[in-house]
Symmetry: C2
Subunit: 119 residues, 2 copies
Amino acid sequence: MSKTENIPDIGKHGDDFSAMFAALGDPTRLAIFDRLADGRPRSISTLSDDADMTRQAVTKHLRVLEAAGLVQNHRVGRESQYAFCPDQLAQARAYLDQVAGRWESALMRLKSFVEDDEE
Amino acid sequence: MSKTENIPDIGKHGDDFSAMFAALGDPTRLAIFDRLADGRPRSISTLSDDADMTRQAVTKHLRVLEAAGLVQNHRVGRESQYAFCPDQLAQARAYLDQVAGRWESALMRLKSFVEDDEE
DNA sequence: ATAAAGTGCAACTTTTTAGTTGCATAATGA
DNA sequence: TCATTATGCAACTAAAAAGTTGCACTTTAT
């Protein structure tokens, strides 16, 4: 286990993001999340209607999304409404932007290196 | 299975994104991906050095990332170099932006609805 | 009051994923 | 040449995830 290379600070914050990506990493969950992006809260039954699986399965998916902070739940009467929650989405976007930014910077450095080499 | 509500076109493209998110949804893989964002290709051994798991495990993770189009592999001599691949990352960002956009639009509509109601 | 709708909990099976080990093979350096 | 380094393949174990079923409970509508 040589520690020669610089070790990125993943593990400090990287795990958090991976949990959120994991929540989105299931087609059913991503579909639910995508659907809730119109702002309208929906009950579990409503969300289960279009899914080709049990209500219980959908419930589990919703709890995974909730645990990841991607949706919010509040009970109204006998039904529990799940609603889109934009905060974590913003976090995910910020993270991906940051990664893309590092990549761009690396490209720039490589470009200027090549240019320096050519003159 | 009532089809009263409008069904989003997830499944047409949503599954693709979920596969990519799933690839990023593991802390080890996200760490590798994050690390490769500096543009420097690295061999499997190099990437295994800092990981607290077997080289084979890292290899599997790299193949998952490769299958998702997040990294590229090419063999040089006896070692196989894995490099950052920005295309899919851009796709992911675009998708999240689109979702966030839909959410924003929904907020706007709600806002103007409330304003209309108040006057 | 009572049936129906919406949900929750718990136990269970099945499938996938993460990780390991052992062995074989190609490329490199002394 | 021969040891070393880097990798690939296959079989395996262990753990997590996905999904099911059955039953109980609360809320709503008739």
